[in-house]
């Protein structure tokens, strides 16, 4: 996975509450066998007219100022619903590396950090400030620094954020979870030996 250290980029405002993963990437695009190529259908129901397939000019990522956004400032409970990892894959394929909101759904949170996307939880007041900052368009960029856990809004205001220390470590170093876990192979084997003795039917 790609490292996440520091990012300075355009931030797009998406003040939708409970933005679910069906909105981020609808099911009909899940027939893919790869992790890439989903960016063009990111937010498909919002980005395109369902009847004609034409771009909806009012949707933020279709506006010239936001076409190259790498940060999303989103409404409460972003990423709820289906567990599809296609949601972070689509974000990543579009170019989004960081999403800021007041809350994220659990599975989406895990899926994103495993793909090098940083999710940042802020307070409702901070979200409001950042939403305003994002609304200033392409001329105003934000900076997200994971090492110092600091967002610099487009007006220069700084916001400190919390992040899980293990996730931070993995993101900063681009570490693969499976590799880390396999270092604990002896503990896993010991667990299995014990479980096999007490619950043999699980090994039938």
């Amino acid at each position: 996975m790609e490292k996440f250290t520091k990012l300075t980029a355009v931030a797009a405002p998406l003040p939708i509450v409970n933005c679910d993963t069906d909105k981020i990437i609808p099911a009909r695009f899940l027939k893919t066998l790869t992790r890439t190529g989903l960016g063009k259908n990111l937010f498909d129901p919002l980005r395109y007219d369902p009847k004609t397939g034409e771009e909806n000019p009012d949707f933020v990522l279709n506006k010239p100022a936001y076409r190259n956004s790498e940060i999303l400032v989103a409404g409460h409970n972003f990423g709820c619903g289906s567990s599809r990892e296609h949601a972070p894959w689509a974000l990543l394929d579009f170019g989004i590396r960081c999403v800021i909101s007041t809350d994220f759904a659990d599975i989406f949170y895990n899926n994103s950090s495993k793909n090098g996307i940083l999710l940042i939880k802020v307070s409702p007041e901070e979200l409001e400030q950042l939403m305003e900052g994002a609304e200033r368009g392409a001329n105003a960029t934000m900076t997200v620094d994971l090492e110092s856990q600091e967002i610099t809004n487009s007006d220069g205001e700084k916001i400190i954020f919390e992040v899980d220390s293990f996730k931070k470590h993995c993101l900063l170093n681009g570490l693969d979870d499976i590799g880390l876990t396999l270092k604990k192979e002896s503990s896993i084997s010991a667990y299995e030996k014990k479980q096999k003795a007490s619950e043999p039917w699980l090994y039938a």
Partner: protein, 472 residues
């Protein structure tokens, strides 16, 4: 940790392989269900890194999301849509390459992962069970800690039989009262989500308890746990009891003979200890609820069928108000409209929420002797081949067909728009599935979530209807 423990604490603690100083845990995963949509990239990952499946027999693969449900569908090779067919072929090939058990679409055991896990006895009390699917919470009905994971985690489980997790908080929802006539487990869980909201359970595992939950059949408990994710929680749980053991006894993957006795003895120790505490407690009395229906684009947007479309102007919270306005615009509804005045184009009875034998029976009992309205296309999609066979033995397929419902092959079907069963832009459904999100059943499609009985009533009336008027 000693002292009284919750059901969740017990399962969690008995599956800890390792714990880091910062609280990150390595948790052992006993079982994994795998379907075609969220697994291909996981198998690729294994191949790229030269890894194997650690315990192939701890997995069960079945295609469900992307399968056609057309009557008389053939094998995988007869699927017309190339992308769908290839996805199934890839799952089958991956299962073979890594030595995982695989159920094909021609097999009578095929069906939705969350229907077949319990049917096969793959789901058992006290186990940890995952699937690359958020409705894995369904299996919590058996007292299993079951949750949805993403594809990277599917790969992690295949390679290591563990997951990196942080402990969840404990929530208990105690449901009292008896469900009134015309109300089912679906109405009960919709009422819960309406009460706590779609983010109400975030970070928690919810244990459903109380007399109304104990009274539910295993099918009903599965319906309740299934929709736990719609309340934002990681998993739902019901303490195992005699009903649970009765359901599981003799299932293909359950222990037999002396091992069965041994297992039941251990399972009896799982329920929450007296005096254990929860981070959050919620009470709900269901004796006064009426059949539930959703009006918006989030499962929390629910109301009794006797109600009217709510008015955003009456809501003080600005976030909530704007979400409601957006929902109503998408749903093309006006505040104050009676719910029973909303006409539907399609009716879908199926999905991992409501496609088990009890759901089929409930819908058939309503449909019997009636006709589907001319303006409505209504489909019934059993959750598995075994449910389908059982229903046919009971003559339910005939009842449905005589009433004008289409009786189909098992799969996820119109729960999500990817297998050919879907809404056209602007069409409206009454659906027994679990998500009424924008576009969930097709781009521009509009979904009203209801119970199987209410879906059958809507099909007959041609609009959302109060099933109690039909069964009087």
């Amino acid at each position: 940790m000693s002292g009284p423990k919750t059901l969740f604490d017990k399962i969690w603690e008995s599956h800890l392989v390792d714990q880091q100083d910062d609280g990150t845990c390595l948790v052992y995963i006993d079982r994994q269900l795998i379907h075609e949509i969220t697994s291909a990239q996981a198998f690729d990952g294994l191949r790229e890194s030269g890894r194997k499946a650690r315990r192939p027999e701890a997995n069960l693969c079945v295609p469900d999301h992307n399968v056609p449900t057309t009557p008389g569908r053939g094998g995988t090779d007869e699927i017309e849509d190339d992308a769908s067919r290839i996805q199934l072929e890839v799952l089958e090939a991956n299962a073979a390459e890594f030595g995982l058990p695989y159920i094909s679409i021609n097999d009578e055991r095929q069906g939705i992962v969350h229907v077949i896990g319990p049917e096969q006895g793959f789901t058992q009390p006290g186990v940890t069970l995952v699937c690359g699917d958020s409705h894995t919470a369904t299996h919590g009905a058996f007292g299993a800690l079951a949750f949805g994971v993403g594809t990277s985690e599917v790969e992690h489980v295949l390679a290591t039989q563990t997951l990196i997790q942080r402990p969840a908080k404990n929530m208990r929802i105690t449901v009292t009262g008896s469900l009134p006539e015309g109300c089912t487990a679906k109405d009960l869980v919709l009422a819960i989500i309406g009460k706590i909201g779609t983010a109400g359970g975030t970070g928690h595992v919810i244990e459903y308890a109380g007399p109304a939950i104990e009274e539910l059949s295993m099918e009903g408990r599965m319906t309740v746990c299934n929709m736990t994710i719609e309340a934002g929680a990681r998993a739902g749980l019901v303490a195992p009891d005699e009903k649970t053991f009765e359901y599981l006894k003799g299932r293909p993957q359950c222990p037999k003979g002396a091992q069965w006795e041994m297992a039941v003895e251990q399972w009896r120790k799982l329920p929450t200890d007296v005096g254990a505490t929860y981070d959050t407690e919620i009470q709900l009395d269901v004796s006064e609820i009426v059949p539930q229906v959703t009006w918006g684009t989030s499962p929390e947007d629910e109301i009794g069928i006797t109600g009217v479309v709510p008015d955003p102007a009456q809501v003080s919270d600005a976030n909530r108000r704007s979400a409601m306005e957006r929902s109503l615009e998408y749903m093309d509804l006006k505040p104050g409209m009676k719910m029973t005045d909303i006409a539907v184009d399609k009716v879908f009875i199926g999905s991992c929420t409501n496609s088990r034998i009890e759901d089929m029976r409930a819908a058939a009992a309503v449909a019997k002797g009636h006709k589907v309205a001319d303006s409505v296309y209504a489909m019934v999609v059993p959750g598995s081949g075994l449910v389908k066979m059982q229903a046919e033995e009971e003559g339910l397929d005939k009842i449905f067909e005589e009433a004008g419902f289409h009786w189909r092959e098992p799969g996820c079907s119109m729960c999500l728009a990817m297998n050919g069963d879907m809404l056209q832009p602007g069409e409206r459904s009454a659906s027994t599935s679990n998500r009424n999100f924008e576009g969930r059943q097709g781009p521009g499609g509009r979904t009203h979530l209801v119970s199987p009985m209410m879906a059958a009533a809507a099909a007959i009336a041609g609009h959302l209807a109060d099933v109690r008027d039909l069964i009087k």
